[in-house]
């Protein structure tokens, strides 16, 4: 099971790049190598920026497993439970009418609606969770380097390192290193 600490870390793991250095690459393989090196060097604050999702980058960066699925499961089930209560209140207590000889509490007939509600709550909460976790409500963010939504791969190193240290760390990968204000 997931602990509260992990949830807290998961929520606040993302941080805006401020200070430090940005190195850009033209090839996904180089970025993957760079991410591994940076993680192995024990750099605490760093993030990668890519135009597309890369398989294995999360492992290379040492990211924890996303806990988004738990949000889906919990809210989906919660939604279904609430809906069942609501329907029961209406059909059994508030307005008990017999239709087509079916019992007031017609469980077989509720399953389709319960299913839809589970998916509805589960799906929307998943999207909401990603928007919160990825801070996608901050619409005024600027890309850390030009072209990272097109063809540039970037790594941001936020720890206090000199340019030489960063160059040594990423030597041989053809990185272009620029400072971040």
């Amino acid at each position: 099971m997931i602990s509260f600490k992990e949830i807290k870390e998961g929520l606040f793991s993302y941080e805006e790049p401020a200070g430090g250095w940005v190195a850009t690459f033209k090839k996904p393989t180089d970025l993957l190598k760079a991410a591994t090196k940076v993680r192995d060097a024990g750099v605490g604050r760093f993030d990668c920026f890519t135009p597309m999702p890369l398989h294995g980058l999360d492992k290379a960066m040492g990211l924890k497993r996303s806990w988004v699925p738990f949000v889906t499961l919990v809210t989906g089930l919660l939604g279904a439970a609430l809906e069942l209560l609501y329907i029961t209140y209406i059909d059994v207590f508030d307005w008990p009418i017999v239709y087509g000889g079916k019992p007031h509490f017609a469980f077989w007939g509720y399953i389709p609606i319960l299913f839809e509600i589970t998916v509805f709550f589960g799906g929307l909460s998943t999207v909401a969770a990603v928007i919160i976790l990825g801070r996608l409500w901050c619409i005024n963010r600027k890309p850390v380097a030009p072209g990272i939504t097109s063809d540039t791969f970037a790594i941001w190193i936020g720890d206090n390192l000199t340019k030489e240290q960063v160059e040594n760390l990423l030597s041989g990968l053809g990185a272009e290193i620029t400072p971040v204000e």
Partner: protein, 464 residues
Amino acid sequence: MSAMENTNSLRIGKPYAEIDNDILKPLETFPTKTWWIAFLVAASALGMFGIVLTYSFFKGLGIFGLNNPVSWGFYIINFVFWVGIGHAGTLISAILYLFRQKWRTSINRAAEAMTIFAVMTAAVFPLIHVGRPWFVYWIFPYPNERGPLWVNFRSPLLWDLFAISTYFIISLVFWYMGLVPDFANMRDRLERFKSKTKIGQLLLDVKKITLRVISLGWVGSAKTWHHYEKMVLILSALATPLVLSVHTIVSFDFATSVIPGWHATIFPPYFVAGAIYSGFAMVLTLMIIMRNVFKMEAYITMKHLENMGLVILVTGMMVSFAYTMEFVMAAYSASHNEQYVFLNRLTGPYAWAFWVMFTCNVVSPHFMWFKKLRTNITVLFIISIVVNIGMWFERFVIVVTSLHRDYLPSSWDMYIPTFYDYAMLIGSFGLFFTMFLLFVRSFPAIAVAEVKADEANEELAQHH
């Protein structure tokens, strides 16, 4: 790793920036003449739709060919038809994703858009069919001052409302979230544009701000992608049963009744297979057009079209299996009513509709057995349209042939569609195509980030 060389690789093999240009350039230029002609045709059909719709509000449902035994006519046929079309989009974006079918990436965006527009088109019909569409909000189960007057949670029509709205909202959200990285791409591309005129600059600024808002400040952080990828997986896992449930519930509208020809327990999987079948046929039609008009041969390759042809073959045979089971079971049942309905389908006054359906749905997909035919664009295009005609007739056969014979022979009647019925049918295509044409002009019709992801990840796999 040479053994891992994929023999039928779908790699495009272009630099990422060039892929961006290929797909996003058309959105930054003025529409072509072909587009304008197509748009005008679609928009005038939509205009007719609007006029007939307004007229029917004033005159009532009497202008249509409905009568007493056939109380569900073209409206329900069109409804089921369009909902069915909608299924392929989710199938491509969710089910093929779960099956790790990489060829889906080039076509999933347009297919998802098709889903959303098809569901919107479909939803129009039951809304009108309720008779007093201005009271349609009564179907929502909220505490009200009309009684207490609640909806009937045991009614399949209410299940339909829940299913279609959930399906529409989840598909829309899924589609939008898929668009976010591409919107960010468009936003960043816009930085290089400048207009000389003041009004041009104003329009450009509006576009820039809009894109900035709808791209949700996306900057491609790996930490965001990490959660985002999980979300795509979950939404796919949710959308898969969801899409199956939608047509299942549509089939419940018929199957929960006691009308021979409607009450068949095989209806749920049978309707789902039929929906996928017609949906794929529609995707194929649209993709062939899109490919030729926007010159996207590098992205929508012969391999894609061939695979869609194969899906049509498989689902066509599933539909044939369901038809067979219905007839086998009617023969086996020794139930007079069941047997009469199926015999009537084969030989009755609407037998022509049955045989159109049979030729289009059961016979035509078998051309896809031959590689020569399923790699021929003309053949594929014809088959895709033939299948959709067949699937429309399937719903005609189910709805009209089952209804026009009642338990009481004195209430037997024929269903003769009027001009307004046909106008609504053609108009619904106008509504659908208008929305689709607007979509291909204003949104990236191919999921750029996903296409590039396939490219990049294949490169990574080879370096491993």
